[in-house]
Amino acid sequence: MALPQVKQTATDARLAALSLPEGGWSRPAREAALARVQAMGLPGGRDEYWKYTRPDTLTAVEAPSAAVLEVGDEAPVFSARDRLKVVFVDGVFSAEESDELALEGLTIERLAEASDIHWAKDLYGTLETNGQTPVERPLAALNTAFATDGLLIRVTGKVEKPVHLLYRHESDSSDAILHHVVKVEEGGDVTLLESGPAAARFNKVIEVDVADGAGFHHVRVQGRDHERRAATHIFGRLGTESTFKTFTLTVNGVLTRNEAVIELTGDDAAVHVAGACMGDGDFHHDDTVFITHDAVNCESRQIFKKVLRNGATGVFQGKILVKPGAQKTDGYQISQSLLLDEDSQFLAKPELEIYADDVACSHGSTSGAIDEDGLFYLRARGVSRGTAEDLLTIAFIAEAVQEVEDESIQTEINELVAAWLGRRRG
């Protein structure tokens, strides 16, 4: 079917400005992904799935410029932890700043350097392809085709230290495309941390295959450079009795679209997808989640909290699809916004589609102002209005932050939020 003219033109222009990396073993997957993008076309303003978020700056030929935020002597998040650090500056791997790519319990290599016969060959682009139905995600296919680098992580045991991907942003005009593949083998367990603004415009995909009995933990803090844009996808496939938990904290950024596309394919598996964001003014944050239950007795939780002020916009599109036979499914979804003024808005589209009869699924979505009684109570005890608001804000996002299993990381996230809120107040 021919694409609408506007979409065709935009897609052609964007593709003409990119070149397909040589890619070695990944080349066939990249060519197939390019064909997918050509067939789908890039997202356009009329697409139903982009009803609440304008994709034009994400698909434009050039990345709109984004100033780098000066953070002074503020220590980067996670930097005090014992971890394997891997640094990308504007999407380019930095050998000097990264640790040696070695850690007990896993192998880790760069996509740009991986040798010709590779385990990731079966995975690269595979979960992304699966995630294209029933809803198309052209930016993810674009990523598979044109990613310049990324990490290929194969987890064979329980890894003690987290792997930390630190994305630095130095150039106002950088346009980065990174693609990571994580394969957690049977009984393996790993924590992946991500932080930083990455680039003026960042397109990132992570594909995660979690085998039977394995665990994957992901905690991400997106950089708070005001003008940065990001379109990210995390694709997950879960085997029997496996666990997948992801949490994202987003503060600032003019445009963020985070998609999570997870498929429960083995019985008794659990996936938790959570996010907290705080935005001010020119801030648009979109969480789009699609969870497919295709096995028995699985649990899924989606927990999203958005704090919006000065005309900021929050979007949540979350779906739970329960396939025929996926009995005993336990699905939960909540999306809530705290609107600190009347100019801000929260747009939510929760969806359930269920083809099994023995399931328990619930979803809810709320928008509310700050609790005036709570605010007065705190102030009557001597807490300033600003600090009281901060406390209530942290309390509001707590349910999402609590999804982070590691308590020390939870604490670090809470401290970070408190520090950022305090800093904003000066």
């Binding site: 709570g374 109570y377 705190l378 009557a380 005890r381 001597g382 300033s384 209530l392 309390a395 707590a398």
Partner: protein
């Protein structure tokens, strides 16, 4: 300590006058009680003094140690030494009781230009005071007032009062919903804080709290005014005869 002169208050949103000229002076170190039927304006008085939104002062004044408090923000009044034990303590999900207490103590210290309490010192003090109010470690960890029983909430108010060491304490029906034992705990908590020039304004329906917290002066409030002031015997009179006689007498 606290001087209220001809205080008149209406609701901000409605044309409803609630306080119709309240006069009240609480001297340093004294305990005053206010009794009165439901709806007479006792809670309104306590809210207006502590700075809650939604009320409009249409006349009169209120000073704390000579300072006009009605123009101050609620947190400034607290730092100046005013404390209200709420009739209905507010639940704050997600904010731990300890965090709340420490934030409050340090905010007030900072506002007064004093040094913040170190976390070890804070812990020591809070544990000690919680113990005497039979507040266990679990309750200190839980979110502020969430899932607390009525009695636990009231004891938690007294714990906050003990930690903040205010000069002027207003207790709004702190005895309601308490059984005899809990009331004794609360009263002991209050009595432990008496002295050192600290003043109390105890709002209550019942004589029984006043058996434990002996007031110096008792006021009767009805229909937005103080209609009678006397000694502790006035509370007994109310206990025996109700308010009706007093209100009629006034009218």
């Amino acid at each position: 300590m606290l001087e209220i002169k001809n205080l008149q208050v209406k609701l901000e949103e409605e044309d409803k006058q609630i306080l119709k000229g309240v006069d009240l002076t609480v001297e340093a170190g004294k305990v005053h009680a206010i009794m009165g039927p439901n709806g007479s304006g006792k809670s309104t008085l306590s809210y207006v003094l502590s700075g809650k939104d939604g009320y409009e002062v249409t006349g009169g004044e209120a000073t704390l140690e000579g300072q006009d408090i009605l123009e101050m923000e609620p947190e400034e009044r607290a730092a100046a030494g005013l404390f209200l034990a709420f009739q209905y303590p507010v639940e704050i999900p997600g904010v731990g009781n300890m965090t709340f207490l420490r934030t409050a103590v340090n905010a007030q210290r900072k506002a007064r230009g004093e040094e913040e309490m170190s976390s070890t010192e804070f812990l020591k003090v809070v544990r000690e005071k919680a113990k005497s109010l039979k507040i266990d470690a679990e309750m200190l960890k839980r979110p502020v007032n969430v899932g607390f029983s009525g009695g636990e909430k009231k004891r938690n108010e007294i714990l906050q009062m003990a930690m903040l060491e205010p000069k002027m304490c207003i207790l709004d029906e702190t005895d309601s919903g308490l059984d005899v034992d809990a009331m004794k705990l609360v009263a002991d908590g209050v009595n432990a804080l008496r002295g050192e020039g600290r003043s109390f304004l105890v709002i209550t329906h019942y004589q029984r709290l006043l058996d434990h917290i002996k007031p110096d002066v008792v006021h009767i409030m009805a229909n937005g005014r103080i209609i009678k002031t006397g000694g502790p015997e006035l509370a007994l009179e109310v206990e025996n005869n109700g308010y009706a006689d007093l209100i009629e007498e006034e009218a």
